[in-house]
């Protein structure tokens, strides 16, 4: 009987301890604002993705081709 009470008390104590320490792992949720500076998440460069694999020149080449494609005067002779 005594052992049962002791076990129950140990379980209750463990639960209280676990709940009490749960907040210790909490990350700070409030942002520290610096005036005039972007405070959000950083953004990746457009060529840093699985498609271009960091190849900036390939990305620029594709964008330049798309830019030029908007000029129908240049396309007429093609």
């Amino acid at each position: 009987m005594n052992a049962n009470i002791r076990a129950a008390a140990f379980c209750a104590f463990s639960a209280v301890l676990a709940l009490g320490l749960a907040a210790c792992g909490e990350k700070p949720q409030a942002s520290v604002y610096q005036e005039g500076k972007y405070q959000g998440k950083p953004d990746a460069r457009p060529w840093d993705n699985p498609r271009y694999k960091g190849d900036k020149l390939a990305w620029e080449k594709d964008i330049k081709a798309r830019n030029a494609g908007q000029n129908e005067y240049a396309r007429q002779g093609q």
Binding site: G36, G40, K41, D43, R45, N49, R66, N71
Partner: protein
């Protein structure tokens, strides 16, 4: 690579709203939010002019200046983007924007103002490229796919140009030279600054008045 810009040629825009539809479809923009719209001046009157308007990705963006939580930023290509996780939906950016670009979806039972939504130049936002989170918050990231904004690329009359500012300015300059008219681009000086030298006016209309 120069800065990414939009340029709408009022001489060519036929108010088809194809750009608006393309944007809505590409990014699955919710009901009540219009990242792009077509404005017609003197509607129904001979000589009416239409222009497609969205975020102009200003070099000195007023929305970025007034944002109280600093969630708006320029990326390296000059595109104005924002972090929706930080946005508090205050609406200051809407009051500051000369083009009415920031949009606010209605959320909740009492029509509360949600987080700001605006044109991203099809460049997504601060989430992993091509991720579901990026698509749901900001729409498709065409720039990371090596493409230009859907609205400009599908414009049937090529009135709406989007891309490297130097290149589209050259395309437009060539166009004006060939047709011999229509050098006035609505919104250009507002978005990209006025000539600083003295004696040089901002628009041809002002030139005529002075």
């Amino acid at each position: 690579m120069a800065r990414m810009k939009f340029l709408c040629d009022a001489e060519r825009c036929i108010e088809c709203n194809g750009c608006v539809t393309a944007c809505k479809n590409e990014h699955e923009v919710p009901w009540g939010v219009n990242r792009r719209r077509v404005v017609t001046i003197n509607d129904g009157v001979p000589g009416e002019k239409s222009i497609s308007v969205a975020c102009m990705h200003c070099s000195d963006a007023p929305c970025e200046a007034v944002c109280p939580v600093n969630c708006i930023y320029h990326n390296d290509e000059g595109v104005v983007l924002h972090d929706k996780d930080m946005c508090i939906g205050c609406g200051y950016c809407f009051y500051a924007c000369p083009f009415g670009a920031p949009q606010f979806p209605q959320e909740g039972a009492f029509g509360m103002r949600g987080k700001m939504d605006k044109c991203t130049f099809c460049a997504g936002g601060p989430e992993a490229d091509f991720s579901q989170a990026e698509f749901e918050k900001y729409g498709r990231n065409r720039i990371a796919e090596g493409k230009l904004p859907a609205c400009a690329e599908m414009c049937s009359t090529k009135a709406l140009l989007g891309g490297d500012g130097d290149v589209i300015a050259d395309i437009f300059r060539n166009r004006v030279t060939v047709r011999g008219k229509g050098a006035e681009v609505w919104g250009w000086t507002t978005a990209y600054g006025r000539p600083e030298s003295k004696g040089q006016s901002a628009t041809p209309q002002q030139e005529k008045k002075s």
